[in-house]
């Protein structure tokens, strides 16, 4: 009945959705942001530890949400680990494009391996109302890494 939905709900997604990685409060995080999708009530708190050299030493999150948003956050926390802030921002932009269009034209260039890991979420582009579920974590990451205040909010709207 739902066979064509396996594109969206790939095994990786269902697995990360059920057992999200880095799902915890990160003690000593120096960047924290909250993300909200008021439409469906998804909500997450993102903790990031940026090293003095400007690299993401660690990222973790807590919250509730659908399989897509949990899986996306889970994959994100894995993927950005060890990246510079600039690289994280680049990834965020590319991921957004992947989620919206299903493809990422210049993914052959830098960060190709990372984008490869995020590829399972590409199926979301066929479900316009679900794109926000996939991008919420990345919006929240942008908010966390934004200059200035330590506490940030993002909303997927």
């Amino acid at each position: 009945m739902f066979d064509d939905l396996r594109d969206l709900y790939q095994e990786v997604i269902l697995d990360h959705g059920r057992k999200p990685r880095n799902f915890r409060r990160l003690e000593g995080a120096n960047r924290v942001a909250r993300g909200d999708n008021p439409l469906c009530g998804d909500r997450m708190e993102l903790f990031v530890n940026v090293s003095p050299e400007g690299r993401i030493a660690e990222a973790a999150f807590q919250g509730r949400g659908c399989a897509i948003s949990m899986a996306s956050a889970s994959l994100m926390t894995e993927t950005v680990r060890g990246k510079t802030q600039a690289e994280a921002a680049e990834l965020s932009g590319k991921f957004r494009e992947l989620a919206m269009s299903g493809v990422c034209p210049d993914c052959g260039a830098s960060l190709a391996g990372e984008m490869e890991r995020l590829q399972p979420l590409a199926g979301v582009h066929e479900f316009p109302s679900r794109v926000k579920c996939a991008t919420l974590a990345w919006h929240t990451l942008n908010a966390a890494l934004a200059d200035g205040a330590e506490e940030r909010n993002a909303t997927s709207e």
Partner: protein
Amino acid sequence: MDGHFAASDAGLDVARVREDFPILAQTVRGKPLVFLDSAASAQKPRQVISAMVRCMETAYANVHRGPYYLSEQATDAYEAARAAVARFLGAADAREVVFTRNATESINLVAHSYGRGVLRPGQAVLISEMEHHANIVPWQMLRDGHGVELRVCRVTEAGEIDLEDLSAKLADGKVGLVAVTHMSNVLGTVTPAERIAALAHEAGALVLFDGSQAAVHRRVDVQAIGADFYAFTGHKLYGPTGIGVLWARAELLDRMPPFLGGGEMISSVTFEKTEWAPAPAKFEAGTPPIVEAVGLRAAIDYVSAIGMPASEAHERRLVDHAMRRLSDVEGLTVLGRAQDRGGVFSFALDNAHPHDLSTLLDRAGIAVRAGRHCAEPLHARFGLEGGTCRASFGLYTTVEEVDTLAEALTKAREFFN
């Protein structure tokens, strides 16, 4: 109305009803559309659509303004719609009917005009845990801006208003207004309006009912209930968007200061001083939703021709069937089990987030809503902050569609296992 329903007093001829709703005949994602989101907004029968078209093609002009033929026609049609709403609600007088933009504005109007104009700081407004945000947020704004206390009546585990708690919260006589739903948009619970009105009045409070759902599913008689204010919205009653209704007893409308200022609602204007027109004009600033009023009137004619007995019987059959079929779905929890419930069901699967579930159902052509249905506090009350899916029925809903839903839910659970 062609009156082709008269014959079927044994019940509703759903196949015939469906012919009136052109939108239902389509396929979605290759499957026949199963529209189960009427509680968010109902589809429109061709009778409503063509009444609106006819108005715009033959008899349109601004109302109350031009002493010429088309404007007289439009004014008559607009005022006839007001009279039809008054009859529909069992109101004493058409002048008690105010047209607004939706139920939300109707309630805000009361919160502003009655809330700020008549209630005094220190008095309280009593709502319930099962309110739609439209019947929560305006009172919070009143509380924060006007110093009125906001009390919240508990909802029982079964999903009904806790009448003991209601009495207790009325006991000190401070409550000036009880504002509760006449039917929950999440639980389907129809609330005991007469009892609530009686309790409110005994305690010296007035009572407002949010009838956005109830007006669709139950016969409403504002005088028999003992309501002071009654709000509903056009688009859920098979009518157009852009129009809502506030009914209030004439004496209350007379006492209330106006809400929005502008044309139509004044009797004279100088820069120093403006005099208000009598109700309902006082509350209808600017050009009203003229074509929408004509459409709403056609919607009322439509449901009236079917008749509440037939449509309630149809709904009861659907609700009973749904109760049975949904209880067979493993891992499914249905919220609430009220004695008197209309065709609205919110549910959660144990292994799927509502948003994921609704995406699956959509692939099967089934339109249900996912989220918290503008009733966050109620979801918190039931420990379902993540939301639910909601299926809601209309005149055009079939027993087979309920089966389709139940089967899809079973399959969805397998999918996520």
